[in-house]
């Protein structure tokens, strides 16, 4: 073999092997993230595809080899008896295609997951080859690898300590070697090449060792800057500039309300729950004229976590227990309060003994917040309250029993608010607390009020927040409506408080076998509403905000009974229901075990599929872009292989087609020779003339011994090259 050729081979081998090592770093973390993934098999397949690509066989042969390998590893991964059968592959695709179509990510089977990984590896082996050998630039790949490892290290359980050192070494080595190979303009003779590359690696190695050792021994500091993730998702109203656009979301500081906000769909938590309902987080009682504060310091009391008493209800709740499993996302990680549905009786999380409760502000807090550990996941048991109209209308609170903090109003509150409150009640003819509250609630549904997030005013220094909204702007979002309602009620001497939390969120998937649904609650679902106290019943939520429906409507007693009836009727066939229940219980148990996995899994699966599609699209685009070169190469190869006249005729026709596309059309009147002259004029030379002459010979001496020579083939190739390149 030619010496120079060998040098190039050595170079390819080194570069490609380093690329392989770097790509292996993408596979190792899969083991940590996906318990189901068969990493050993992935690595075997990865090395196999790299080997096949490295050999640079004919494209179809290499494709075939990879496809066979693919089928074998699939069959091994599902432990099929036949290694070469395509049926399991086919079945998997059919089975999982429908899950993907319905976005039921959690149903996707493990073999199919593995299959996706195998496909990804297959495709990436082409990409790596393209980056390393064709493009001679692997910067993108190197940067992506760093990005991948750091993201995994930051946001998942994957520990990147040792991998980052490996990645650093392989990435720098492989980047340097690719650059080395691209730098030398001529191929070095093998002896010189070996000598140079050894010296080069020594030089590079010494710099790299210094870098790695320095990186290893340098003391590791804790983060000096605050965590950017909650910083980006939560708005801090302390710093609220009047002009500043806030992001929607849950904030703890409400002492200055007003101003526009941008919608922000950062996912905060997901809830796997029996019903869709509001999530309450806290209440506030002190209205300042600008916003909400608390009238007293928060003092928590310990409560057993399976019998939480929030002081919300004056009577025990009677409805059936329901369950919700709530998972906080990392974006919500610094939230130390539980979001809970109305009627919560128990919260279970990793430490199942007690939690901190503050009744005055309706707070539920994780027990050991000092550790800095955030809430990740908890199960809530709740009995949905039912508010019965009759009970509420008969409720009377003695003046003496009223707590001043729930009827508090600032002294500067404009008189016209009191007047408006009286007017509303009078107009509605309301007599009891319920009617008054409903009248005030209904006041906001008039067409005068508009729901608006962007064009929302901030009160001037001497202006009241509620006054501005009620009489001037009349457009705003939940904070405007809820605060205004509380203030109007208090103006009527009704006990009311301001509630913050979240609406029910978006339903993302319904498990048909289970009664539960999964809801995603994002920053957009942050909400505020109103609670009114009814003696003997408790705190009852009201929803004044335009466009929102109340979490728990107030129903007449008759309706209640009716609503319960269907349930009773359903129990006609008890056996059936029992068996169904059994099933669903089983499912539920399984679900809750796998739930945590599935949350991350579905996101990763989504990304995996997106990545696959992008790569496939990229490869297709590349093939389409290079289609002429590819077709030309094919025809060329066929001519050199067969040396047949037929192959030349095909090639010549293709050339004519290419020329036609370049605007060089052969007119009817033209002879082939005349046409050849015009072509040669454009592409300086006499190649077309030679080809045309040969073609004529072929045409007129059919069957006789016209030989396809190498010169003709090369002339054809050169002319094709020129024609293809000249257009670009």
């Amino acid at each position: 073999m030619n010496m120079r050729h060998t040098a190039a081979n050595v170079e390819h081998f080194i570069i490609y092997t380093l690329g392989l090592f770097l790509f292996l770093e993408w596979v190792y973390p899969i083991e940590t993230l996906f318990e189901s993934a068969n990493v050993q098999l992935l690595i075997v397949f990865l090395i196999y595809t790299f080997l096949v690509t490295y050999l640079q066989l004919r494209w179809w042969l290499s494709f075939l080899l990879k496809a066979v390998g693919f089928i074998i590893v699939i069959n091994v991964s599902i432990q099929a008896k036949q290694l070469f059968s395509v049926m399991p592959l086919y079945e998997q695709i059919i089975e999982n295609a429908q899950f993907i179509a319905k976005s039921n990510w959690h149903l996707i089977t493990e073999p199919f997951e593995n299959m996706l990984f195998f496909t990804l590896i297959w495709l990436v082996s082409y990409l790596v080859f393209y980056w390393y050998i064709v493009l001679k630039n692997n910067l993108l790949f190197v940067l992506l690898t760093f990005f991948y490892i750091t993201v995994l290290d930051t946001f998942t359980v994957y520990d990147g300590t040792i991998p980052i050192i490996r990645v650093f070494i392989f990435a720098i080595l492989s980047f340097a070697c690719v650059r080395f190979s691209a730098t030398w303009q001529k191929e070095l003779p093998i002896k010189k090449y070996v000598r140079t590359i050894i010296k080069y690696v020594l030089l590079l190695g010494s710099i790299l060792s210094i870098a790695v050792i320095a990186g290893y021994i340098v003391p590791k500091d804790e983060p000096a800057w605050p965590d950017p993730v909650p910083f980006a998702t939560m708005f801090n109203q302390n710093e609220a500039d009047e002009e500043q656009v806030k992001k929607s979301g849950y904030g703890t500081n409400d002492d200055t309300l007003g101003g526009p906000f941008e919608t922000d769909d950062t996912l905060l938590f997901t809830s796997h729950s029996d019903t869709k309902h509001y999530y309450k987080v806290e209440t506030k009682d002190l209205y300042t004229g600008k916003g909400w504060e608390r009238s007293e310091e928060i003092i928590y009391e310990k409560q057993a976590n399976d019998s939480i008493k929030l002081g919300m209800f004056d009577q025990p709740l009677e409805n059936d227990e329901k369950e919700a499993m709530i998972t906080y996302e990392d974006s919500f990680a610094d939230m130390d309060l539980f979001a809970y549905p109305y009627g919560t009786t128990a919260i279970r999380y990793d430490l199942n003994d007690y939690i901190f409760v503050n009744q005055a502000s309706s707070l539920l807090k994780k027990r050991d917040v000092e550790n800095g550990e955030s809430i990740e996941q908890y199960d809530v048991t709740y009995r949905e309250p039912t508010y019965i109209e009759e009970q509420l209308s008969t409720s009377e609170t003695n003046e003496a029993d009223k707590q001043a903090r729930y009827t508090q109003l600032p002294d500067e509150l404009p008189e016209r608010i009191h007047e408006l409150a009286e007017e509303i009640v009078e107009d509605a003819g309301a007599t009891n607390t319920l009617e008054k509250a409903q009248a005030v609630e209904a006041h906001f549904s008039s067409t005068d009020f508009v729901y608006e997030t962007t064009d929302v005013a901030v009160p001037e220094a001497d202006e009241d927040y509620v006054d501005q909204f009620l009489f001037e702007t009349q457009q705003g979002y939940c904070d405007n409506y809820s605060t205004s309602m509380v203030v109007l009620l208090r103006a009527l001497d009704i006990e009311a408080r301001w509630v913050k939390g979240f609406t029910g969120g978006d339903e993302v998937l319904t498990n048909e076998q289970s009664d539960k649904s999964t809801y995603e609650i994002t920053n957009e679902h942050a909400h505020s509403w109103v609670e009114v106290y009814f003696a003997g019943v408790g705190w009852v939520p009201f929803e004044p905000t335009k466009g929102f429906t109340p979490d728990q409507p107030i129903v007449p007693e008759d309706d209640m009974e009716e609503a319960e009836d269907p349930l009773n009727e359903e129990s006609l066939d008890e056996e059936q229901i029992e068996s169904e229940e059994d099933e669903s219980v089983e499912e539920n148990e399984q679900d809750s075990i796998e739930q945590k996995d599935e949350q991350g899994k579905s996101t990763i699966l989504k990304w995996l599929l997106i990545t696959l599609l992008i790569i496939i699209a990229g490869l297709t685009a590349y093939l389409v872009y290079k289609r002429r070169e590819i077709r030309m190469k094919q025809l060329y190869n066929r001519m050199t292989r067969e040396q047949s006249i037929a192959s030349f005729e095909k090639a010549f026709t293709y050339l004519l087609k290419l020329l036609r596309k370049r605007g060089l059309t052969k007119e009817e009147s033209m002879t082939l020779r005349e046409y050849a002259v015009t072509v040669d004029k454009k592409y300086a030379g006499n190649k077309m003339k030679k080809l045309a002459t040969f073609y004529e010979q072929v045409l007129y001496n059919k069957g006789s011994n016209v030989q396809l020579t190498k010169t003709i083939v090369n002339q054809w190739k050169q002319l094709c090259d020129e024609v293809i390149k000249n257009n670009k």
Binding site: I164, F180, Y200, A211, A214, G215, D221, P223, D227
Partner: protein
Amino acid sequence: MSQTFKNRFVLLLLFVIFAVLYAYMQFQGGFVSSFLLTSYSVLLLYELIFYMFPMKGWSVSRSFSEKQVYAGDRVDVNISLRRAIPFPVHYLLYEEKLAESLRTPYVSLLTEQLTQIKKRDVIIIEKAPFFKRDVTFSYALEHIARGIHSGGSIRLVTTDIFGLFKKESHIIVDDELIIYPRQLNVRLASDWAGRLLDGYITTAKSFEQDSVTSTSVKEFSPGDKLSTIHWKQFAKQGELMTKQFDDEKRAHISVALFYDEKNASKQAQESAIEYCAALFNHFTNEQIEVEASIHYDSDQVIRENNSRNLLFSLTTLSHQMKEKRVDETKTIQSSPNTTFVYLATTMNEQLMSELKKNSPHQDAVLLYFSHSTALNDEDKKELKNLQNYHVRVQLITEKTFINDQVEVKSE
């Protein structure tokens, strides 16, 4: 995009990466971010040192393997470079854009038989000096063309281990490379010599037979031919005397080269030049008085009677250096004893007027250089017509050359 701009862009990019890693470290803390930042900083430091490192302290000198080089020969060029500080460099590129005159290789009618020689533009040599302070680049120029070659630009490029920055240094080398016309050995065929040098031979014979015809004697000086010693005088006076002859009695050859750069082929032209030099040397060696004249640019003439000067004139003969020498316009002196050897590549007016002028009493040979394929019937006819001017025509084509030794004969 210029290299400086590219380098600055890369520098900016490196700092952006640093900023990103720094921010990552500040936000995240822990091993991964600190490791990345520190290790990257070490590499960045290396890159910065490389970026700031000056290339100005490098001294470069060039030398050629031989002092006197003839066209078609090979010249070995050596460039030695000395670096002031041995900063480790794994790649050093020497790139020389050859002077215009060096790009096209030597061609003559003779080279037709050689394999085709590629045109060369740029010499690229790559070296990996690492810590070495002295680096030598050497290359050979094969089939070098006649002329005085100077100019061309040299560029040294080096890059860091990651090939991110490319640093260049331009070197101006003001040395000249003089390439003389290729040397031919001319052997005159006997009949040709006989006829052409009739006058000379008879003169010599008559002189030997009849010493009385000598007009005067002078003292012998080293270098005079032994046959010209006046032995009788020596016998009489005991002193070595040599015989002196009248000018008109002595053979005189005029070699006239008609250089027509515009119309003639390069090969024919080059061969004509080589013949001119070779014939002149041949006659000089034979002690025949010879004068050469070079006719070019339709009315310019250079006259030489010294073989060194002629060689130099022929060397510089090409339109790039025509302004170098300007001689007064003179016609070839015609004395009855002068034999003319014309060397031409085209039948231009200059040649015709010379032929006409000398035609009444001349004994002349025209060596006509051309590609055999370039001659058409009309040309041949015209050449035949030249006999009217008492010129014998000999056609020299690429077929004339059998080996390096050239035989000149009449038809």
